[in-house]
């Protein structure tokens, strides 16, 4: 048995790079995207937000047009970056997708008890979790499905005034609606993800691992017991 205090590998350098690349793109795309919505029925926080963001880029609809170009360029860079990652680390991509979409008995109980524990307290013993806990899996699922929806609808919006004919504007209209919905729901999850990873003291080693790639073994045993069990049995971990 390995010593309890050693570090075990959790993330490949390519995983770390794609995570922070994705985070940086999301930040730019979210802010520029908020500046692109300007409609009294849609503004999430009021008209001041697009007005302020547009003022930074020249003001008015001309400032909005600059934000649109920025949003389109970074959106394409984001999609290309993710496709490159999937090619560079195909094994890691497969492992990630298999892990996040495989639910185990106890996951639901874990989710309910963890939410109680983190907010009002109590909740009882947490069932052991695998490479990802149920909260991480739920957010990863939302990110993957949401990301596919955001990418696909974004491509339709990008193509709208370049190649799409008037006969398919219905598709463009629905792409706007779905783009807004998917971003909104993933953003709701993102708030919890950022809190849990970067602010909550419990997950500090997990946060650190998104820079170093490794976690302490006993942290892994406490938080991801089934993963460590599998590693001990000689099964491969994350690529």
């Amino acid at each position: 048995m390995t010593p309890a205090n050693n570090e075990i590998k959790r993330h490949d350098p390519s995983d770390i790079r794609i995570h922070w690349f994705n985070a940086a793109c999301w930040l730019v795309l979210l802010v520029s995207g908020l500046g692109l919505i300007k409609n009294d029925k849609l503004n999430p926080l009021g008209a001041w937000l697009p007005d302020v963001l547009r003022a930074l880029f020249g003001g008015g609809s001309a400032g909005g047009a600059v934000l649109l170009v920025l949003h389109e360029v970074v959106g394409v860079v984001w999609l290309v970056g993710i496709v490159i990652y999937m090619g560079v680390n195909a094994g890691g991509t497969r492992f990630f997708l298999r892990e996040i979409f495989s639910l185990r008995p106890g996951d639901f109980t874990w989710m309910v008890r963890k939410m109680l524990r983190m907010t009002v307290g109590g909740g009882g013993e947490l069932p052991p979790q695998g490479y990802y806990n149920m909260g991480q899996k739920a957010f990863a699922q939302a990110s993957v499905l949401g990301g596919i929806a955001i990418g696909a609808t974004g491509m339709i919006l990008l193509a709208s005034d370049k190649i799409l004919p008037a006969s398919v504007v219905w598709l463009v209209g629905w792409a706007v609606t779905l783009h807004y919905l998917a971003v909104g729901l993933v953003f709701a999850g993102l708030l919890v993800h950022i809190y849990m990873a970067a602010i909550s003291p419990e997950e500090k080693p997990g946060f650190r691992s998104m820079f170093t790639g490794t976690v302490p073994r006993d942290y892994a045993r406490h938080h991801h017991g089934l993963w460590v069990d599998a590693l001990d049995k000689g099964e491969p971990g994350a690529k």
């Binding site: 849609l42 907010t119 190649i163 209209g173 909550s200 419990e202």
Partner: protein, 260 residues
């Protein structure tokens, strides 16, 4: 005071020569197959074997004070210009989603087949900047179309409106007065051709279902984070929180690691 550009039309003077339509296309390079303005026709009635009087009605975007197209635009690419009151499309911000086209009850908008974005009458801003009236007004041989700032009492349009006070009519959308800035002197025909403004279902779904849903989802998530943060700050550091092995005991072990 801000300007209020408007068109005042004596449709009885219109001879259906369509010079305004051709001049607009030429002046603005409007794509093939589409038009920014039009002349509608009230078919002359046939009574007792005799042909009655018909009527021609020049028209275009009415640059409404309460434009339904602006309400349907998700990006604000189409907006009411505060300085001159015209309804503008910024072609660089329009992505051609098409929402504004059915939301205009007057059929004034179309999706340009070449540029693939919304298009309509602009009151010829380049000509106005050069001190010229819009092309359709300039070319009209009978001067049926008169253009100007109706908030300026000395403009031709304002004078014409004042001279015909009480006799001016407008073509208004069914069930929705968008306050058009196109005034017809005395009477005009045909009437009743404006339709009800219709938003695409995707836009109604976005504004009435998706936008509130996202607000609630983000709000709920934000509340959850605040609750967790509050607990972290108030009771998170005290012992006897949660179950043993994920609580303070774990923190101690981790502290041990960090010390090494």
């Amino acid at each position: 005071m801000n300007a209020k550009l408007a068109m005042v039309i004596d449709s009885a003077k219109c001879i259906d020569c369509k010079a305004c339509v051709a001049a607009c296309k030429q002046a603005n390079g409007v794509s093939r197959g589409v038009w920014r303005n039009w002349i509608k026709e009230a078919v002359p009635p046939v009574e007792n074997g005799k042909l009655g009087r018909g009527h021609f009605q020049p028209g275009a975007c009415m640059h409404c004070d309460e434009p339904s197209c602006v309400i349907a635009c998700p990006t604000g690419a189409t907006f009411k210009d505060k300085a001159d009151g015209s309804v503008v499309i910024d072609p660089k911000l329009c992505i051609g989603c098409g929402n504004c086209i059915p939301s205009c009850p007057y059929g004034a908008r179309f999706r340009d087949p070449v540029r693939r974005i919304a298009d309509k009458c602009t009151y010829c801003p380049e000509r106005r900047a050069a001190g010229l009236p819009p092309a359709c007004v300039d070319t009209c041989p009978t001067k049926a179309r008169v253009f100007g700032d109706i908030s300026d009492p000395n403009s031709d349009a304002a004078k014409l409106l004042a001279a015909n006070q009480g006799k001016v009519v407008r073509v208004i959308a069914k069930q929705n007065d968008t306050k058009p800035n196109m005034y017809y002197i005395a009477s005009t025909a045909p009437d009743g051709w404006a339709v009800k403004p219709v938003n695409p279902l995707s836009f109604d779904a976005l504004s009435q279902v998706v936008a509130p849903l996202v607000k609630y989802a983000v709000g709920l998530s934000g509340l959850g984070v605040l609750a967790m943060l509050g607990r972290q700050l108030l009771v998170g550091q005290k012992p006897d929180v949660g179950t043993p092995h994920e609580g303070p005991e774990k923190d101690k072990k981790e502290d041990g690691h960090d010390a090494r």
